[in-house]
């Protein structure tokens, strides 16, 4: 595809656990002329109404996140089925409150999964959406939680169906695919990356994983011919139960304000060098919807268990929508891309740019492509938009944080397992690379 000739660098930032309507639904509410399929008349339109015990719960704007989101909404496979509220081949998307109450026993009129942010709360995401491209048909590949969906993003398939307290079983990692093709890639981290859960420890402490503090300098000084062609930006995860520093990954109960500030920081760094920015494609998305409401039914995409899978019941649909943003000069301001995409669209894009075409990644990715999932390259325009680089002043984040605590949920225990093993295997090199590992307490026995 000729348009990809104009792109030298693909940058991917994957946040955690927010749905499309929750984060970007306000775009159509605040500008009714917008093409975005977000919120429209949410106080009366039936498609947003959730029902629990016959009572209707409507979307409401979140002004004070710590006061509203007091429990992490559920997002495991069984709960997602409740949320999507199936009848035959229809999905009513009316069970987000029901799943939340069943999980948390918390009943309140302003039920947390129905909350959404406006442009003052999701200030940086909103800014990028209005100035670049928003994908309003970006779905989580699977109606499940973090680990299977991240495996879909970075391997194209998954051997597990839920998040557990273990290192991830996987095949066909994107990093290996890129290594075989001599593609220059790099990960910038704000602490231990999720990639540590793949157990590739020498790689994680090696030169391809750099602290986020180096991003500005690298953007300014690194010659284009030596700079990475694919960059992954890792946020600071809420799963660092051993740390006192606030997370910026947006996973509840981490606050969105810190994630928005991190997004601003990354965008500012990527646009420091106008010549590089002119040939950069910055992709922002979320690993899964986090149990927050979305009104658009999932796509009927079939994913049978691959050979060696640790589950037997395949998936017949995607999960709910998640936010998807593409910031690059190669889209017109305010573009809305309605093409059907999921996390494997990133793999199609990389295969299209650096391989022989969008079908050059794997048979699993191709199976989704044949069912209608397209490459993110399709969101790009054939010509760059000629204009100054849009800029926005930062809003402060929050110092509130969960603080040091025992690992509670499976992903926190998975981070613990990865951190313990990394520390044990790589010793001082690991602590030197990720100083917060020094604060990691000795291995506790996992709780059931």
């Amino acid at each position: 595809m000729a348009v990809l000739d104009g792109i030298d660098t693909i940058v991917v930032l994957m946040f955690e656990n927010r749905s499309f309507d929750h984060l970007l639904g306000h775009l159509s509410l605040e500008d009714p002329r917008s093409e975005v399929d977000g919120l429209r008349n949410p106080d009366t339109n039936p498609r947003y109404a959730n029902v629990y015990e016959d009572m209707v719960y409507r979307p409401f704007v979140i002004h004070d996140e710590p006061a509203v989101i007091t429990h992490d909404p559920p997002h495991g496979r069984g709960y997602v089925a409740t949320q999507m509220a199936r009848r035959g081949n229809k999905f009513r998307m009316s069970g987000f409150v029901k799943a939340y109450v069943e999980y948390s026993q918390h009943v309140t009129t302003l039920s947390p999964p129905m909350g959404y942010f406006d442009s003052s709360g999701a200030w940086m995401s909103s800014f990028l959406a209005r100035n670049f491209c928003v994908c309003d048909r970006w779905f989580t590949p699977l109606p499940a939680d973090t680990q299977p969906n991240r495996l879909m993003a970075f391997t194209g398939h998954t051997l597990i169906e839920d998040t557990g307290d273990r290192l991830l079983p996987y095949r066909e990692h994107l990093f290996d695919w890129m290594e075989r093709r001599n593609i220059r890639w790099r990960v910038y981290c704000d602490g231990l990356p999720f990639f540590a859960l793949f157990g590739r420890f020498p790689e994680v402490i090696g030169p391809k994983f750099r602290p986020i503090d180096k991003l500005d300098e690298d953007m300014l000084r690194e010659p284009a011919a030596e700079a990475p062609q694919v960059i992954f930006i890792e946020p600071r995860y809420f799963d660092y139960f051993w740390s006192d520093v606030p997370a910026n990954c947006n996973h509840p109960l981490a606050l969105l304000s810190n994630g928005e500030l991190y997004l601003h920081r990354i965008y500012s760094a990527l646009t420091l060098n106008p010549a590089k920015w002119a040939r950069t494609m910055f992709i922002v998305t979320y690993d899964e919807h986090g149990g927050f409401f979305d009104h658009v039914p999932p796509l009927p995409i079939s994913s049978p268990p691959p050979p060696g899978a640790q589950y037997t019941e395949g998936f017949s649909t995607t999960g709910p929508r998640v936010p998807g943003l593409i910031a690059t000069p190669w889209v017109r301001p305010g573009k809305v891309f309605h093409g059907h995409v999921d996390h494997t669209s990133i793999l199609q894009l990389i295969a299209e740019k650096f391989g022989s075409g969008p079908e050059d990644y794997s048979s699993f990715v191709n199976a989704r492509r044949h069912q209608g999932i397209v490459s993110l390259a399709e969101a790009l325009d054939s010509q760059p938009a000629e204009r100054p680089i849009p800029q926005r002043a930062a809003q402060p984040g929050s110092l509130l944080h969960a603080g040091k605590r025992p690992p509670k949920n499976p992903n926190e225990r998975a981070f613990n397992a990865a951190a313990q093993e990394l520390k044990q295997r790589e010793g001082l090199a690991a602590i030197s690379k990720f100083p917060s590992l020094a604060d990691l307490p000795p291995t506790p026995t996992p709780t059931p």
């Binding site: 109404a49 016959d54 009572m55 009316s94």
Partner: protein
């Protein structure tokens, strides 16, 4: 042992032991009915794995420490706003704790009720002879106190709706209101959507996004 050491030991023990101990859990907690008037009995029911403390905002008399599981009835505090009943569960000297809450709202207020065409939810009936789709919901004692009365009722659907409550039938156009003045909110509410010429039941259900919604203006009877 110095003061600093004495202060730090519980923190270190908490982090070290915290991961080994079973979590505090609220398996079940309800405050019913969801809608009630001041003085109405509210039944609190809970099942946990730890020491329980119950409280309410605004304060309700007689709450406090309880066994890990139980059920009891308290009067709804006076006041016009919602009452939030809290449950706090603690284990292992507070090393493991959790909490949640249930809200009871008090009329006067307007509240939407609905039936959803989804598995595990309501059943929509296709009435071939009457050329209509019908569904119902029941506001029982778990959902609505007996003293709560209905005033106006609004049709929140984009379709004409025939409402039936205790044998009283009313037909409402889109967005129209009618009155069921003085009738109890408790009971069976039947909602029927007449089909258009040539329309199938499935198409009619899709037309309302799989939901039939009404808004009840609720009041306390005394």
């Amino acid at each position: 042992m110095g003061e600093g050491m004495r202060a730090i030991i519980p923190v270190v023990l908490g982090v070290l032991l915290g991961g080994c101990l079973p979590k505090a859990r609220v398996e079940q907690f309800t405050a019913r009915p969801f809608v009630a008037c001041p003085g109405d009995p509210i039944t609190l029911s809970w099942r946990t794995n730890g020491n329980v403390t119950l409280s309410a905002e605004p304060t309700a008399p007689g709450l406090g420490k309880r066994d890990s599981s139980g059920r009891e009835t308290v009067p709804l505090p006076e006041g016009s706003g919602p009452t939030v009943f809290n449950i706090h569960v603690s284990r292992f000297l507070g090393l493991k704790k959790t909490e949640t809450s249930g809200e009871v709202v008090t009329p006067p207020l307007a509240k939407e009720y609905a039936v959803v065409d989804a598995e595990g939810e309501a059943d929509f009936s296709c009435l071939e002879q009457e050329r209509a789709v019908e569904a119902f919901f029941v506001l029982d004692a778990e959902k609505m106190a007996p003293g709560v009365l209905v005033g106006q009722v609004m049709n929140m659907n984009i379709r004409r709706l025939v409402l039936d409550k205790d044998g009283v039938k009313k037909t409402l156009g889109e967005g129209e209101t009618t009155t069921f003045e003085g009738m109890r909110a408790q009971g069976r509410w039947s909602l029927r959507v007449p089909l258009e010429e040539g329309e199938t039941c499935e198409a009619a259900i899709d037309d309302v996004d799989g939901r039939l919604i009404i808004k009840l203006q609720l009041a306390c009877g005394r």
